[in-house]
Amino acid sequence: MSKRIDVEDLNVYYGDFLAVEDVNINIEARSVTAFIGPSGCGKSTFLRTLNRMHEVIPGAYAKGKVLLDGDDLYGKGVDPVTVRSMIGMVFQRPNPFPTMSIRDNVLAGVKLNNKRISSKAADELVESSLRGANLWNEVKDRLNKPGSGLSGGQQQRLCIARAIAVKPNVILMDEPCSALDPISTLAIEDLINELKTDYTVVIVTHNMQQASRVSDRTAFFNIEGTGKPGKLIEYAPTTEIFNNPQKKETEDYVSGRFG
């Protein structure tokens, strides 16, 4: 179910502006990979190219290869919609659909695509997805209440449940805890640890403790200055990045001596 991602010579643009330059990275299946780096260094932008969400912004595009188990996401004739159903995404701010109940939010990926699903199968999918997101016990009595009535941390876990309900191969998370309190953050981090048994997880975070807690491998992105493109500086097992980085920039950043 889970697949590996190999990125070769990827350049990411916003119109004429080169935002991320020349990234080569191999993301292992069934592992958690963290992207760290200062604000504006292009880690979120790069993350969005991994499921072709980047090109949703007018004028934005990417050049290069992103291989999902050997298949190029940017190859000719590839439908971005298919790519996105294989590579799910969780956003920085929890964004459950305000018009839908908790149950419908979980089923959104199925229902919005007008796939037929029996109500029994739907019930099972809702329960397994919510259990997978550690939310089932908290919401099982109010599945028909609006999703926007949950707390921020619950909403974010609802969004994760929504993402895993479409059974993707990879889950991308763009700073999933930055709007949450420490307890909700802990719940999400525990969840990420469980998710990696079934999925490939890529997480962008500003919180270096979080990266060291949850990830197996860490990629450090940096930018030379405003107007310059972001670059992948170092990519290694997490313990190595935090304890024995090869590059001086990485060491400065992880030890807090940056800039």
Binding site: V56, V81, N95, L112, P146, V166
Partner: protein
């Protein structure tokens, strides 16, 4: 020990230091009463009437009030109260015409609001019958055909303008990407907003005249004219509503592997539907009172006509217009006047109901946030 101890800090004798230098509570009512008296006196000097009385009283209040408050509390409080009073004055001035219109229509319209008016047309009603009518209840003939005309013409106009307007707005917000076509459409929609309603009427009349022969007048021609007037309102309103749907919801939907058109249909529009629906209702309320374009497109009928595609039609505004301009009995216009006022009351009632309906729709469709 003494039994007359007072709690610290609440001595009944000493004034609080925090309220020192503030105006007494009775100051503004007293200035108000004084202004009314002085206003009456000044007004009496030039020949007393209520209008000059009100104007002079307001002027005195606006000048004396801020000056007194400024003298007591300092110049900042004085100018603050001046601006506050000016804002209230502007509000009262804006509301006076509205209340006056509603009062006049109610006072003149209610006597004519008979079952005759609501359930019969003007078919076969002649000046002779009007001349025989002595009490308001004796007046025969009514506005039923005009209500029918208003309802069916507005129905067709809504049926045509809502899909066009909705789809245009969806193109502008979701597909145009600020391209030249989107900019051109926005420009022309803005121009259309300013088209005088009579021009829209002439356009529809000329269009159908070209196709079906000169002076083709049916309810449908009028509906086309109203459509021209409604489309820009619907587009502008829907555009606003779609733009305030957060982009995050679109991205959340894309990230689930949902196609763009399905995202728009199932996520964007349901989120914005309450605003869109109430905007459409307000657009209807705006065109329902149009008179000029109907005069040149729908003709004028005295009989009931449900068919918008053949025969002339009357709507409430044109009914009112003709009842007043050409009374059924030229020597005794009172019954016609009575019918016109009653029809005006019905029209205002319909518009108010539509506004209420818009609010109900907005509430019913609004995304549910309760239950936290």
């Amino acid at each position: 020990m003494s039994t007359t101890t007072t709690k610290p800090g609440t001595s009944p004798v000493r004034e609080s230091r925090l309220t020192r230098g503030q105006r007494p509570k009775w100051l503004i009512p007293v200035i108000g009463v004084g202004a009314i008296v002085v206003g009456a006196a000044i007004s009496a000097l030039i020949g007393f009437n209520i209008a000059t009385w009100a104007i002079f009283a307001a002027l005195v209040f606006l000048i004396v009030g801020p000056l007194l408050i400024g003298a007591i509390e300092g110049s900042r409080a004085g100018s603050d109260s001046l601006m506050t009073f000016l804002v209230y004055t502007a509000f009262i001035l804006a509301v006076i015409p509205l209340i006056s219109v509603i009062y006049t229509v109610l006072a003149n319209g209610i006597p004519g609001l008979t079952s005759n008016l609501l359930l019969t047309s003007m078919n076969g009603v002649t000046g002779a019958q009007d001349n025989f009518a002595e009490a308001p209840g004796d007046v025969v003939g009514g506005a039923y055909h005009a209500i029918v005309g208003t309802v069916s013409i507005t129905f067709w106009a809504t049926l045509m303008s809502v899909p066009i307007g909705l789809l245009t707005a969806i193109y502008l917000v979701e597909y145009s990407n600020n391209g030249w076509l989107g900019k051109a459409i926005t420009f022309f929609v803005d121009v259309m907003t300013g088209v005088p309603s009579i021009v829209a009427g002439l356009f529809a009349a000329a269009l159908f005249g070209m196709i079906f022969g000169p002076s083709t007048r049916t309810g449908f021609v009028a509906a086309v004219a109203l459509t021209v007037l409604m489309i820009p309102t619907v587009v502008k309103n829907t555009e606003e509503m779609l733009r305030i749907v957060p982009n995050e919801l679109r991205e959340a939907s894309y990230a689930l592997g949902v196609r763009k058109w399905r995202t728009i249909l199932k996520v964007v529009i349901p989120t914005a539907i309450s605003g869109i629906a109430s905007g459409v209702t307000l657009a209807i309320a705006r065109v329902i009172g149009e008179t000029a374009p109907l005069l040149v497109t729908a003709g004028f009928a005295t009989a009931i006509n449900w068919n918008s595609f053949s025969g002339w039609m009357t709507t409430l505004p044109t009914y009112i217009y003709y009842q007043i301009m050409t009374p059924t009995s030229p020597t005794n216009p009172d019954p016609s006047l009575q019918r016109a006022w009653a029809a005006a009351l019905i029209l205002i009632a319909i518009v108010m109901l539509l506004n209420l309906l818009a609010r109900l729709i907005a509430k019913a469709f609004a995304p549910k946030t309760a239950g936290r």
